[in-house]
């Protein structure tokens, strides 16, 4: 029997997550409900807008909430799960922490531009610090290093502040 769009996306997300050092929620029923939302949003908007946020239908306005959203990694750092609970940390998988509904860190309307430049290089201000994987040299500019290096899969603590 051919697979449904939902089953295909579920498999793709699982594979991509594992490859990138992320974890999909192991509660298949919960995760499938979110995958159904993503498929629904893909068909009505043309992109996989976050199922747990209201998309405008205008891609430019919704860029930050196309899954995986801009807020996933900071939420994983702070709450061990993304806003939907589609992505979770190893702590939640191991049962050391319970998954719950978290506050939405997406800025409300009119407050979206956060151009606070605190980091400098050659006198130029940067909006984010830059982290370097000491194992493979991968660089990323974000508030904190990722939980797992997406290139060589080492842990967060193998990163150093580069800029």
């Amino acid at each position: 029997m051919p697979k449904t769009a939902e089953e295909n996306l579920f498999e793709k997300l699982k594979t991509d997550a594992a490859r990138g050092g992320y974890n999909l929620n192991p509660d298949d029923e919960f995760t499938m409900a979110l995958v159904e939302g993503l498929v629904k949003n893909e068909s009505r908007y043309g992109y996989q807008a976050c199922p747990c946020r209201l998309a405008s239908g205008n891609r430019a306005e919704d860029l930050d909430i196309i899954c995986p959203c801009d807020y996933r990694d900071p939420d994983l750092d702070q709450y061990d799960a993304c806003f939907c609970g589609l992505y979770v940390s190893p702590k939640i998988i191991k049962g050391e922490k319970k998954l719950k509904s978290i506050p939405d860190r997406r800025p409300a309307d009119n407050a979206k531009d956060s151009s606070s430049a605190d980091f400098t290089t050659d006198g130029k201000k940067l909006p984010y610090p830059v982290w370097r994987c000491k194992v493979c040299g991968y660089l990323c500019a974000r508030d904190e290093p990722p939980a797992t290096c997406p290139i060589c899969k080492v842990d967060k603590d193998r990163f150093e502040r580069f800029i």
């Binding site: 409900a33 747990c52 609970g85 509904s101």
Partner: protein, 93 residues
């Protein structure tokens, strides 16, 4: 007019839920209200267009400036943001 759906049940207070049809935490909140057999009304914001959506969103904004979902307004006086069964039960007392 925005489509507001009514769910029959015990009238323990006036409950109005701002929700999304695709949101898991909205689904869990609805399931909780259903399980407690509480009467409530809800609207799926993602199923509204244009003016209907703007009007509803303006209403939601008065309760929850972040306009996040689910937002449950209780007795037109309190609101619970997110899926939080303890907070709902507390406000219903």
């Amino acid at each position: 007019m925005a489509e507001i759906k009514k769910v029959p049940g015990d009238e323990k207070g006036e409950l109005f839920l701002f929700a999304l049809s695709t949101c898991i935490w909205c689904r869990k909140t609805k399931a909780f209200l259903d399980e407690k057999n509480l009467a409530y009304s809800y609207v799926f914001m993602d199923e509204l267009d244009g003016k209907d959506r703007e009007e509803m969103r303006a209403k939601l904004k008065d309760w929850n400036p972040d306009c996040s979902y689910p937002t449950l307004v209780i007795n037109n006086s309190k609101c619970v943001v997110g899926f939080d069964t303890d907070a709902i039960l507390k406000e219903l007392k």
